[in-house]
């Protein structure tokens, strides 16, 4: 293992950092989030031109040949700046699910367009009764001649505004909980019977709720197992991206807070001279470094382990890292005092992102329960 960035990764990281520094400071972000025109502000052209959209796309598909590690490097930098554009939803989630779907024809058709930024996809998989768990699907797909028709509702479609098409999970068979029967479909954004409600998340990022009424769709993977497996594989990639983003959030929260402690005075001295606050900062940075370590463990597992193992590690990572982010950024507010509660102070926005992150891809309590169930399965199998 090697924990330092190699030359390419360092260049990648630096290029994102430079973009943040020159074109995406906190005020710019605040304006773009407020204006409701995040897509333009997100500078998708820059993302394409710098190759970030292709960084984790396999070389034989026209990408740079990177892995989830490259995604993590970019995401961490974007997390530091609370980047509000559709990076996670489109560039990571939809792209990786498409790649993992194994549908070569669609991959060859779409991937170059996604990488050069001329087209954008989003993934519609979660539902209110699914809470981010991929195999829980009520949305139905029924075969209708050469095409399929999709009916149902999807929630939290990240980066869903302004896309060209959606990747949609839908069930052609089985009960709400069955792993069998879940396929992936491609639905044009302007398809008949599809209605979209734009939503804004707490951190200002945009998402969409979708309602499908007999919407015509192209099959990506009707093969039930493949469809769900691909979906989950892409989700794992996106969960890693989110975890990396949160590590970036924590880094920046801690930097901002440390700076505040050095400058803010009470009782005639910088409040950073109070031992209780010093120790709090120590606990925060220790929690962050533990979270970063967990991110690395999850990246390693994604790279090296079988699916069952890496999913378990990722479940744990999602819980540990979102919990750490809520703690660290929450304490960031606390150490700022009143000013930390205001919209114009950056620290509160980091906390909001951590709260949103917990709700994405399944909340902490669900992932914890999944870890516990996996442990039970393992120990029961060994000690029957």
């Amino acid at each position: 293992m090697d924990f330092t960035l190699n030359t390419e990764q360092q260049l990648l990281s630096d290029s994102v950092a430079r973009f943040i520094q020159t074109e995406y400071d906190f005020e710019t972000r605040a304006k773009s989030v407020g204006s409701g025109d995040q897509r333009r502000a997100s500078r998708w052209d820059t993302f394409a031109a710098n190759g970030w959209l292709a960084a984790a796309v396999p070389g034989d598909l026209g990408g740079w040949g990177g892995t989830a590690v490259e995604t993590a490097v970019i995401s961490q930098q974007l997390g530091r700046a609370l980047f509000a554009g559709p990076w996670l939803g489109s560039a990571v989630l939809a792209t990786q699910v498409l790649i993992a779907s194994g549908n070569q024809a669609l991959i060859r058709e779409w991937l170059p367009l996604l990488c050069d930024g001329s087209r954008r996809l989003a993934l519609a998989y979660s539902e209110q009764g699914a809470r981010g768990i991929a195999h829980i699907v009520e949305t139905r797909a029924t075969k209708d001649g050469a095409t399929h028709r999709i009916s149902g509702r999807k929630t939290l479609v990240l980066g869903g505004l302004g896309v060209d098409a959606f990747i949609v999970s839908a069930r052609s068979d089985g009960a709400i909980n069955d792993r069998n029967g879940v396929g992936l479909f491609l639905v044009a954004a302007d398809a008949a019977g599809l209605s979209m409600t734009a939503t804004k998340l707490h951190d200002g990022t945009e998402a969409a709720d979708l309602a499908f009424e007999e919407v015509p769709a192209t099959v990506i993977s009707s093969n039930a197992a493949d469809g769900l497996d691909g979906l989950e594989y892409g989700l794992s990639h996106a969960m890693l991206a989110l975890c990396a983003e949160l590590v970036g959030c924590m880094e920046r929260s801690i930097e901002i807070t440390a700076e505040y402690l050095r400058t803010r005075k009470q009782f005639g001295v910088p409040i950073g001279s109070f031992q209780s606050l010093q120790h709090r900062m120590a606990d925060m940075v220790a929690e962050m470094e533990l979270a970063r370590s967990m991110l690395f463990a999850a990246l390693a597992s994604f790279e090296n382990d079988d699916v069952a193992t890496h999913r378990r590690v990722l479940d744990g990572a999602k819980t540990l890292i979102t919990t750490a982010a809520r703690n660290v950024c929450g304490q960031g507010i606390q150490l700022h005092g009143g000013i930390g509660m205001t919209e114009e102070c950056a620290i509160g926005h980091y906390f909001k992102r951590a709260v949103v992150a917990d709700a994405l891809f399944g909340s902490s309590s669900l992932h914890e329960a999944a870890c516990a169930a996996a442990l039970q399965d393992e120990l029961r199998a060994v000690h029957a």
């Binding site: 909980n177 507010i333 909340s363």
Partner: protein, 384 residues
């Protein structure tokens, strides 16, 4: 030591409950889970209470109050909270009120108390300043005596509801030579006085509750000085030492409990209700246990009655520490229970809970931060 319920208090509870059933207008009930009620609703509700003779639950009978014991007031609050009444004007009732009743001249009392009782005048509190947070006594807003007026210059911050209030009670520095606490006075100021500018502070909950208030050559009649000049600090200590049993905001915690239970039986994942998931039931049960302990701690503190000794004061601080910590943990978990919609800012149904959660990050900051409370407890209990 004896734990049988007091039959008189039980009867009192029934009286309150009957009153609320009969007199609380349907359109005033359950307007928000935790935050401030609309001004209009507060006024209407205050007028109804006034009609019942219950205009001021914490004031003595000879001042137009109910003369209720702390236990009675807790029951009143508990029932009001369960019935979802609008809030009363806390600043007027619990902070300014005791000061008027104790320090005001008969003329001052006559001018200011009746409008409070009738719900005709709303107050806000002008204590904190940009440089004076936890170190309140370092405040710099100054009031200079010129003839029969004071001329006020300076700035207050974190002024809750300044934009909705008619009057403000202010701490000002009247003797710039005196050391910190010694030169402070307590002044009542009409918010319509020329020279006052209110600037909104938007909170991370997306709401506008807080303000900056600027004073530029504001002329205040000398008759609006409460107590003697430069005795403002002792008035402040009197005012802040009053309500030890209230620091945990028990009614709020109980509403959270209700909300969690509601979500646990109405929300589901994969067809299973949340309450049927062990990890959810476990978490809620732990919260309920802790809440029960806090509730009894409130009762114990109430039973100390007017006692202003070290222990009562420390109990108030400990209650605030534990109550606000519980508040924050419960409200974060409530948002987790919302599932996907817990991430969404702009749906009315869920926004209340998430905004409430974000707002409550301030609970451990205002009214003496948790750090300040720990210092108080260590000093009062151990002389450290």
């Amino acid at each position: 030591m004896e734990f049988r319920p007091d039959p008189e208090l039980e009867a009192f509870r029934q009286t309150v409950r009957t009153f609320l059933r009969e007199k609380l207008p349907v359109d005033l009930a359950h307007l928000s889970i935790g935050m401030f009620s609309p001004r209009e609703a507060m006024s209407r509700w205050q007028a109804i209470l006034h009609g019942q003779g219950w205009a001021a639950p914490s004031w003595p009978v000879d001042r137009g109050g109910t003369g209720w014991s702390v236990e009675q007031r807790l029951i009143f609050d508990d029932e009001c909270s369960a019935a979802g009444t609008p809030t009363q004007d806390t600043f007027a009732q619990k902070l300014l009120g005791p000061v008027l009743n104790h320090f005001a001249t008969p003329e001052q009392w006559q001018e200011h108390a009746p409008p409070i009782l009738k719900g005709e005048r709303k107050w806000c509190q002008g204590f904190s300043e940009p440089g004076a947070g936890s170190d309140l006594a370092s405040l710099r807003t100054k009031a200079e005596r010129r003839g029969d007026h004071y001329v006020v210059n300076g700035q207050k911050i974190w002024t809750t509801n300044a934009h909705r209030a008619d009057w403000i009670f202010l701490l000002v520095r009247t003797d710039p030579e005196a050391r910190k606490q010694a030169g402070i006075s307590f002044l009542l100021v009409d918010m319509k006085t020329p020279g006052i500018t209110v600037r909104p502070i938007w909170g991370i909950d997306g709401h506008h509750h807080l303000n900056e208030v600027f004073f530029d050559e504001v002329e205040v009649p000398a008759a609006n000085l409460i107590g003697a000049e430069n005795m403002g600090w002792s008035i402040t200590k009197f005012l802040l030492n009053n309500e030890h049993a209230y620091t945990a905001d028990l009614p709020l915690l109980k509403r959270y409990r209700g909300e969690m239970r509601r979500l646990a039986v109405t929300q589901s994942v994969g067809g299973t209700r949340l309450i049927d998931r062990p990890e959810v039931a476990h978490r809620i049960a732990l919260f309920e246990t802790e809440l029960r302990a806090v509730e009894m701690m409130v009762q114990r503190t109430a039973a100390l009655h007017g006692d202003q000794g070290h222990f009562a004061h420390a109990m108030g601080s400990m209650l605030k520490l534990r109550g606000t910590d519980l508040q924050q943990r419960m409200s974060v978990f409530m948002v987790e229970l919302l599932g996907d919609s817990g991430a969404v800012a702009d749906t009315q149904s869920t926004n209340d809970l998430a905004a409430e959660m974000f707002f409550r990050r301030a609970s451990t900051i205002y009214g003496g931060s948790s750090e300040v409370q720990r210092g108080i407890v260590a000093k009062l209990m151990f002389g450290l």
